[in-house]
Amino acid sequence: MLKIFYGDMKESIYNTASYFKYDYEDDWIVDPFVKEMIYDVDKSVVLDSGVIDSPVLGKIPPTGLSGGVKTLILVKFEKDKIFNASTCGDNCAKWFLKIAEKEDRTINLHHLMDFGKEGFDILILNTNQIVHTKMELVSIAGEFV
């Protein structure tokens, strides 16, 4: 399940782009799930572990990916760490839910990310409540951002 703590959180890694720069591994980039995420969010194609074909920037290294995709990759592979997911736009929301489908993940948000109108299970750690709809989520999480 996806678990979210809203607002400032001491143990959360705030600057995810900087963390990614020195932490990512070649294997992560060529993982089929990651390739799909990169294609969906950045519209870019992974050529190999060190080269990605971006329609805007040309051939770029993994550090040239968008801030959102970098954070998604970290959340997928660094299971025990908590990252600031406010570096991600709404177009990353479905990927957080997919990553957390089989294994629990905790992320930190400083804004209200749009996870869709309904049909999700998210545990809001601030109040220990599980929400399933946007209305429930906004009503609870909005108090903390």
Partner: protein, 321 residues
């Protein structure tokens, strides 16, 4: 700094062209729309002026601020447009807010977080969109778009309850109007209480009146909340004082020019938000007259039928009778 400033930054592949018109501009939106790329291009152009493949055209100096030494860097920057990418925690601090109040720069900040310590306008929150290719090169052309449009509501609004963030003259004005029309009117004593109020009330027919000039930090959570509730409308004039000036009851030869292009008159170092500027203008233009304006207590001249009618007429779509 005052005025509007156009920024054009380009490479072989990419071009951004936009105008900055207030001291604080926020950029947010989906991932991979080019926010960080924009800041990187500005940084490259500024750091390598003679050898960069990035062209930067602007009538003001541009600068990218980041890292823990932000204060030291900023102390050396004036009369410039300062860009700050996401990942810089200092933007949330009171220290940053206080520091930039005393500078004459404009700030462009990439963040999805709300920054309650900064009084930014709902009108200066932008996303970036690609609007096609530019020129004969395969250059993608990017521009800003307003995330919160100026005309969200098209139908007429007939509320049963009016709530204001203001507790001073603005509230006193709307309370008087509501009393006449037998409507309920409440002051919430500050913008941060709006979300809690709406969250704890049902789908009542409510009009929320806030100062658009400084409501930027609250806008996202409030609009997310009201998108799930029926019967709630939010009205965002720059400020109550702006509405009074717009109504035409104050006569001054400069007023039309000011209202037409406020940024040409508002020195950012003197006025942290436009709301403060419009208050100062209204006080100045009405002093020693029967309309002498005070923020704390509303002059009874503003509650005469003629003045009330003139102000209400400027509130498009809203019916408080």
């Amino acid at each position: 700094m005052k005025g509007k400033h156009r920024v054009i930054v380009s490479t072989k592949r990419l071009k951004y062209d936009f105008e900055i018109r207030r001291n604080i501009t926020i950029i947010q939106g989906d991932s991979a729309t080019g926010k960080t790329t924009l800041v990187d291009m500005i940084r490259e152009a500024v750091n390598n002026p003679s050898g960069a493949a990035v062209d930067l055209v602007c009538d003001k100096k541009c600068f990218v601020l980041d890292g823990t030494l932000w204060k030291e860097q900023l102390a050396a920057v004036s009369d410039s447009i300062v860009f700050i990418d996401e990942g810089n925690e200092f933007i949330k601090t009171i220290e940053f807010s206080k520091f930039i109040q005393n500078t004459d720069n404009y700030y462009v900040i990439v963040t999805r977080e709300s920054l309650p310590a900064l009084p930014y306008s709902v009108e200066e929150i932008y996303g970036i969109k690609t609007s096609g290719k530019y020129g004969r090169l395969e250059q993608k052309f990017n521009e800003f778009y307003r995330i919160y449009g100026a005309d969200i509501y098209k139908g007429s609004i007939n509320p049963d309850i009016v709530v204001t963030e203001d507790s001073n003259s603005g509230y006193q004005f709307f309370k008087n109007i509501c009393d006449d029309a037998h409507l309920r009117c409440e002051s919430l004593n500050g913008k941060s209480n709006i979300f809690q109020y709406l969250n704890s009330h049902g789908n009542e027919n409510t009009l929320v009146i806030v100062d658009g000039a400084a409501f930027g930090s609250e806008m996202h959570r409030v609009t997310e909340l009201i998108s799930e509730k029926k019967g709630i409308a939010i009205y965002l004039p720059e400020s109550f004082e702006w509405l009074v000036l717009l109504s035409g009851i104050v006569r001054n030869s400069m007023l039309n020019s000011i209202l037409e292009s406020p940024s040409d008159f508002i020195e950012s170092k003197e006025y942290f938000s436009w709301e403060r500027f419009f208050t100062a203008v209204l006080i100045d233009m009405t002093k020693d007259s029967y309309l002498a304006y005070k923020k704390k207590n509303l002059n009874s001249a503003y509650l005469t039928d003629t003045v009330k009618k003139a102000i209400l007429e400027k509130m498009n779509y809203i019916n408080l009778n």
